[in-house]
């Protein structure tokens, strides 16, 4: 009797182990493929010229494969969108978790999460057709398809992620911590800023990094809205071409296993490394600031 139970248990273990490793294996294989298809470009250009070269003319003769403007485009768009989405997301999370009445919270939170389900092409279209002409007319700038517009659209996309995950983190701060703070005479605001936020910083940073990862990897929105000029932008109202936009626009027509194809995959590697670093930072912060004891999340 005990024997069949053991076999059953072992069988279960193996089954779940396989399920759990499946996603890791797939991810690993995709990365191997990415590197296999991307690395051959470095026979044509050096790593330094590829990353710091400022001209991207993959189809000219002779071609130039410099993705520096693309990297800068991605970084600028991500930072600008983060500077909009982080305050918005975290502050709405504080409101929902700490200040709003239960009824409001129950209505607003699902709506915010629904916002995350908006397809990016819809947001891109909104940015292209509504926001771009609006910016052109109001600010009198040459084009509304620029970094500012793209950042704004990306911020819309990351706010729900940031808000929802931060809210969970803030909400799960134990009540007795707050009660202790209030009992010591701190106001509600002081309690939020000095006790609740530090106690949930690990969850909030995870939320922020996840939101930013979504922004840097987002393709459709930047393809439609960022303008797509492959040059280092001089102001936030200049167009830019983030890396995913470049890959998406050119991959379909790039000759299979040609230099252009390899260069696009190598751009993918750079993007992969960026997001990888983001995730390591998130992991590090989450680990370092994890509250122990009563406030552990």
């Amino acid at each position: 009797m005990a024997n069949t139970r053991q076999i059953k248990d072992r069988g279960m273990n193996v089954f779940f182990f396989c399920i759990a490793t499946a996603s890791i294996t797939i991810l690993f294989m995709i990365s191997v493929f990415l590197f296999m298809e991307g690395l051959p470009i470095f026979k044509v250009v050096s790593v330094k010229d590829f990353i710091f070269g400022s001209y991207w003319y993959p189809t000219s003769d002779p071609p130039d494969f410099g993705i520096f403007p693309l990297i800068i485009g991605s970084v600028v768009v991500t930072i600008l969108s983060a500077s909009v989405s982080i305050p918005l997301g975290v502050m709405s999370a504080v409101y929902l978790a700490e200040i709003a009445r239960v009824k409001i919270r129950e209505i607003v939170k699902p709506i915010v999460e629904l916002l995350a389900a908006l397809p990016s092409v819809v947001i891109g279209f909104f940015g292209m057709v509504i926001v771009a002409p609006f910016l052109q007319n109001v600010l009198d700038i040459p084009t509304g398809l620029n970094i500012f517009n793209a950042s704004l659209m990306l911020a819309f996309m990351s706010v729900p992620t940031i808000c929802s995950i931060s809210e969970d983190a803030i909400y799960s701060v134990p009540t007795n911590l707050k009660e202790a703070s209030l009992a010591l005479g701190a106001t509600h605001l002081e309690t939020i800023v000095r006790v609740v936020l530090p106690a949930s910083i690990s969850g909030i940073s995870t939320a922020i990094i996840l939101g930013m990862s979504r922004a840097i990897g987002e393709t459709m929105v930047v393809l439609m809205v960022a303008g797509g000029a492959a040059m280092v932008p001089a102001s936030i109202f200049d167009p830019a071409r983030p890396m995913p936009a470049s890959i998406a626009a050119e991959m379909a027509e790039a000759p299979f296993r040609g230099d252009h194809y390899y260069a696009l995959f190598a751009t993918g590697i750079v993007l992969f490394v960026f997001i990888f670093i983001f995730n390591i930072i998130a992991e590090h912060i989450a680990h370092k600031y994890r509250q122990v004891g009563e406030a552990s999340l």
């Binding site: 057709v129 398809l145 492959a230 252009h260």
Partner: protein
């Protein structure tokens, strides 16, 4: 080693299958510019003749013509005429590629309808796209910055523009990039100071087509060759086509069938 021989066998068998094109099978390869035409016509043709199967692939004009010379395809799509070098190579192999003109590609510069400019010269276009002219007043327009909209460098439309307008000079990096004809039209329609270029089939009332060197871009001016930013598109066959291939080409060239679909694909039909 075993694996390698396996791959070689597979490759060889595919090669053979492609060479021995049985009646009822047509293989089409080549230019991605001609691909939308080939695709539309092939779909319609297969609908009318269900016993025929047509296999389509892109890969570029060069690859298409190479396949005709090697005999691995029945029809090669090409967005340019065959080069002298290729003809020589073909004749050495005893192959005589036969060109069929199937359509024209006509690219029209467009601006916002509120822009007072009506005509532009090829030199002005080149200067704008090289980033030398940055203000509309330099080409006779209002004192406003020019917003240059271009296509992704892999597209056939960009290829024509690059060859005919830029004379192979580079479009300056500050030009905005859009990934399709439709997106360029959309972007120009929404921006008063923009200039872009789109295929003739994509013109609509929200954008204003410019005349180039005084010539209006239209089907007539494209066919008689007076509009400067246009080119013929070809399908090549190996020797004079026979069997199913000649039927297919007749279908492509039929004014009410294939040529109508050419127009629907956004290109200029022959008649």
């Amino acid at each position: 080693m075993k694996k390698l021989s396996f791959v070689v066998t597979i490759a060889l068998s595919i090669f053979c299958m492609a060479t021995v094109a049985v009646a009822g099978n047509i293989v089409i390869k080549g230019s991605t510019t001609v691909l939308p035409i080939a695709q539309k016509v092939a779909e319609a043709y297969m609908k009318e003749n269900p016993e025929v199967s047509i296999s389509l692939s892109g890969g570029g004009s060069g690859n298409g013509i190479k396949a005709i010379i090697d005999g691995t395809t029945d029809i090669a799509d090409s967005s340019r005429f065959i080069k002298g070098k290729e003809v020589k190579l073909a004749v050495e192999k005893g192959v005589y590629p036969v060109p069929f003109r199937v359509a024209y590609d006509c690219i029209v510069p467009v601006v916002h309808p509120s822009n007072p400019i009506k005509d532009i010269s090829m030199d002005q276009l080149k200067a704008i796209y090289k980033g030398e002219v940055k203000n509309w007043k330099d080409v006779g327009g209002p004192d406003k910055k020019v917003v240059v909209i271009s296509r992704d460098t892999s597209s056939g439309t960009y290829e024509v523009w690059n060859k005919k307008v830029m004379k192979k000079d580079r479009v300056y990096p500050g030009a905005l990039l859009q990934a399709s004809n439709g997106a360029v039209a959309q972007a120009v329609a929404k921006n008063k100071y923009a200039i872009g270029y789109i295929g003739l089939g994509y013109l609509n009332k929200d954008v204003k087509a410019l005349t180039v060197n005084g010539v209006t871009g239209s089907m007539e001016t494209t066919i008689d060759g007076t509009f400067p930013i246009s080119r013929p598109l070809f399908m090549f066959t190996q020797g004079w086509p026979k069997g199913e291939t000649v039927k297919f080409l007749n279908y492509v060239l039929h004014p009410a069938k294939g040529q109508k679909l050419v127009g629907e694909a956004g290109y200029v039909p022959l008649y």
